[in-house]
């Protein structure tokens, strides 16, 4: 069985498909292009499920690529090496799933330039899978940079007939996204270079693999410098509060499937980076920094909840709620114990599902009603009852009602933070975080109430189509399954 399951195959299926799609040899027929891309995504999801089924956490998948018998950059000790441990495995399957439903959602949102769109879409998928699976710092950084190019085009290009102003706005927010992320990644590169060098100086191993880095021998001050550099890099992606201003614009102006991918997966790469670098590789400095970071996480949760309440654009509400939720993920990581880590990973999955559902709903509403302003939207429920049903369930899930996945992760995060041995600051954060979660119900229910109830202003609008139904139903199924059987994920993380 093992010979069929390889990580390079997992990463490079989308890559090869993307090259194939953009090449002039591939047909221009939009239906063929779309079906091909969907087929690749579905196949990829099935393949990743197969890998998950054969996964053994005691014996994780490893693989290394040699270039004509040499390591990639042997002079710097950089190996093209991949590893799938349980967290990577969960996130890889999640990536595959989110991209699959996003490719389904693309049908009504992408109306032109199909070849280029799906090519960039699959390239982004490949880059993100690379981030989640690489076991070498520089390979990680390679994929981290690679993801920027497709992400730019996905956010900023004109994918449907809209007016010039919207295109301009989308381009500006895409440039903002790229510059912010690039700034973060350059600071992160400084951290990686210093870590690489000082690990070599103090341990004598010229290697950039995570497994070869021993942080205890590196001088303390340099450790903190490295950790802060890395945290700034990941903090842009996560985002941590002062570095967040790219996110609402990018998420609002991107087309629906791209928003789903951005909020569902791209933000998780930041959290994964903090886990992989700071939490796992540099535990000494992280245990020192974690309480400070927990305060930032708390600010994330509280501040953005208030900001989200003040918004009138549905997509902006969801975008700000994402920042709030990522604060929760960060808090779980800062707890620096098993419960906190499990909660954090679980919340990544739960939040990815919720946010995909919410962006999908926002997208459907925008397609039918041509507006996303909750002050002008009213009475959608009576014309689109099926959408209303899904909206109610997903909104309830997002505010943390039991029987849905976010409930489990929110409670576990607070328990993890409470049990943290690091500092009393963590307990304070936990105490404040729990009541503040109620705020999420304020803005979410406001969205539901203003948009769906009341007198209807629309004579006739089509209810959800089969594609949209599939997306929403699979999201909901995921939320319910993980809500009722959390052990499916938590069991893997023990």
């Amino acid at each position: 069985m093992d010979i069929f399951l390889s990580i390079p195959f997992l990463i490079f299926i989308p890559f090869v498909a993307s090259i194939l799609l953009i090449s002039p040899l591939f047909t221009n027929n939009e239906i063929v292009v779309r079906r091909f891309a969907k087929g690749v995504c579905v196949f990829h999801f099935l393949y990743s499920i197969l890998m998950l089924a054969c996964f053994d956490s005691a014996n994780p998948y490893m693989s290394e690529i040699h270039f004509f018998g040499l390591d990639w950059v042997q002079s710097m000790g950089v190996k093209f090496i991949f590893k799938l441990d349980s967290i990577s495995m969960i996130l890889a399957v999640l990536t595959s799933f989110v991209f699959m439903i996003a490719s389904l959602a693309s049908k009504f949102n992408i109306r032109r330039n199909h070849k280029f769109y799906y090519s960039m879409f699959l390239l982004l998928m490949s880059a993100i899978l690379g981030i989640f699976t690489s076991a070498d710092m520089f390979v990680f950084f390679l994929f981290w940079e690679l993801e920027l190019i497709p992400a730019y085009f996905l956010i900023g290009n004109k994918w449907r007939e809209t007016d010039e102003e919207d295109v301009k706005k989308a381009q500006n927010s895409a440039i903002k996204f790229v510059l912010f992320t690039f700034l973060g990644s350059m600071v992160m590169l400084l951290g990686i270079l210093l870590l690489h060098y000082y690990n070599y100086v103090s341990n004598g191993i010229l290697s950039a693999s995570f497994s070869d880095i021993v942080d205890s021998t590196i001088p303390d001050s340099i450790q903190y410098l490295i950790a802060v550099c890395l945290l700034i890099g990941f903090g842009v992606k996560l985002p941590i509060i002062p570095l967040h201003s790219w996110l609402p614009d990018a998420h609002t102006n991107a087309p629906t499937p791209v928003s789903m991918v951005l909020a569902g997966i791209l933000l998780k790469t930041g959290a994964y980076g903090i886990f992989r670098f700071n939490y796992e590789t540099l535990p000494n400095s992280f245990s020192f920094i974690a309480p400070v970071l927990a305060v930032f996480a708390l600010v994330n949760i509280i501040f953005t909840a208030f900001v989200a309440y003040a918004q009138t654009d549905i997509k902006r509400i969801v975008a700000y709620s994402s920042i709030s939720n990522m604060g929760l993920v960060l808090l779980g990581l800062c707890a620096f114990n098993q419960i906190g880590l499990s909660a954090s990973v679980f919340h990544m999955v739960a939040h990815a599902l919720v946010t995909c559902g919410l962006f999908m709903i926002a997208g459907i509403v925008y397609l039918r009603c041509k507006t996303r302003d909750i002050n002008t939207l009213t009475g959608i429920a009576s014309v689109m009852p099926r959408l209303f049903g899904f909206a109610v369930l997903i909104v309830l899930a997002s505010i943390g009602i039991p029987a849905f996945a976010p409930f489990i992760s929110e409670v576990l995060t607070v328990i993890g933070a409470m049990n943290s041995d690091l500092s009393d600051v963590m307990k304070m954060c936990a105490v404040f975080a729990l009541p503040v979660l109620i705020l999420s119900s304020c803005y979410m229910l406001k969205f539901l109430h203003n948009g769906f109830f009341g007198e209807t202003a629309y004579e006739k609008a089509n209810d959800i189509t089969v594609h949209e139904f599939l997306v929403l139903a699979s999201v909901l199924a995921g939320l319910v399954i993980f809500g009722l059987f959390p052990d499916t994920i938590l069991g893997m993380l023990k």
């Binding site: 270039f67 002079s75 270079l193």
Partner: protein, 477 residues
Amino acid sequence: MLNDIFNILLPQMCLAGFIILQLILSMFISPRYYRYARLVSVIGISLSIILLSAVQTEPQYFALKNSLMSDCYTSLFHFLILVCGFFTALLTRNLVKTIKAKAYTFHAILLTAIFGAMNIVSANDFLTLFVSIELLSFSTYFLIASAKGYYSKEASFKYLLTSAVSSGVFLFGVSYLYGITGSVNLSDIYEIVASQEPSVMYSIASILIVLGLISKLAVFPFANWIVDVYKGCESSILAFLSTVPKLALFGIVCRLLVFPLSAGFELTFVIALLSLLTAFWANTYAVRENNVKVIFACSASANASYALLAASLVSVYNLSTVIFYLMCYVFMNIAVFAFLNIYGDKKPLSVNDFRGIFHNNHGLAGAYAFAVIALAGFPVTSGFIAKIYLFSAIANSGLIFVPFLLALLILTVVALYYYLKILLPLFAEYDKNTETVSLQAVFSQKFVLIITALAVLIMGVYPERFIELCRFIAYNI
């Protein structure tokens, strides 16, 4: 003498022979056959590349009374200079068409410039170095001025003025150094300097010498010329100007920093500071520009400053990163200017002239976009590896240089903005009211663009062999 020629000077002599051949042809051949000038140059350069394999590199060889030298370091730079010259010669088609009668003279000057650049790298005393620099500079003035129109003359004159000033500064430094050591030979100076305490005079002399040399790389105090010169240049000359003088000057500056000028520590800080200022100036200047050539001018200046910062922190590892960076950088630049050459530069090129050009010219515009992405330093291009490798050299040089590195890294984000400004219009939707451009490229232009873009890709995917080569050369300097 004859021994020297056969041991190390064959490539240069071959070029010299072809220079004379071109001059003779220019007197006798009718202007109708102007096309063959390019062919003669290409043959000459190719022969010279082949003859490079006959050069003695191991052990070092000193020729003509110690005034020229040869080792594997110079051979690599000779090879790179000749390859860049080869590509430039191929790209001169459009330019030569406009000056038909003078085609052979033009190519003779081009070969002379390459000859001068080769001699700069292998110079082993300051007089040879000075003469070679002037040989390169004088030929370059004519090359720049050879294009039609007012701007090229203006550019040429500006380049002449700055070069004259920088030559003066350089000579002033050399005279001080001669006063201290009583020699102009690099090996002798190194021996004398290494045996005694460095004096203030020595520091001043070394700073002046390096300042005079790096002004050709557009480093801060003498940086402004690059904007005007690039604005007025024809694109094939730009392909030359942004690669060959840079290779030659880096070749000699690195050698000077390692040997005769290595005794004082002030020089390191002066160069590091200047390169930081240059990076700041160039990157911020380009942000508000719309002229493509000016943006590439600033990018050239900025890239030179990154490499110079790494070169100033002298160590074997740093030297290998600088060589690798140059190796990657010249191919990206030639690819970029090859595309501009295909597009044709009859008027100042604005970034918006390229709107939507990708839709009709997938291959050519794709290769161009790839080269620009490489300049910005994104992965699967050689630019990514080169940047990481270069910055790792600065990171390894000690904590005191971490602020410098941080500043450079932040400046590369600014650089990304103007590279995006070039890149994005390529993929934009074209307006209905402007006509769609379909580019016409001849074989030689396509050949240059495709080969250099391929080189960028190969060095990005499979860098190990090239890095190994650079390390070998840096260890054997």
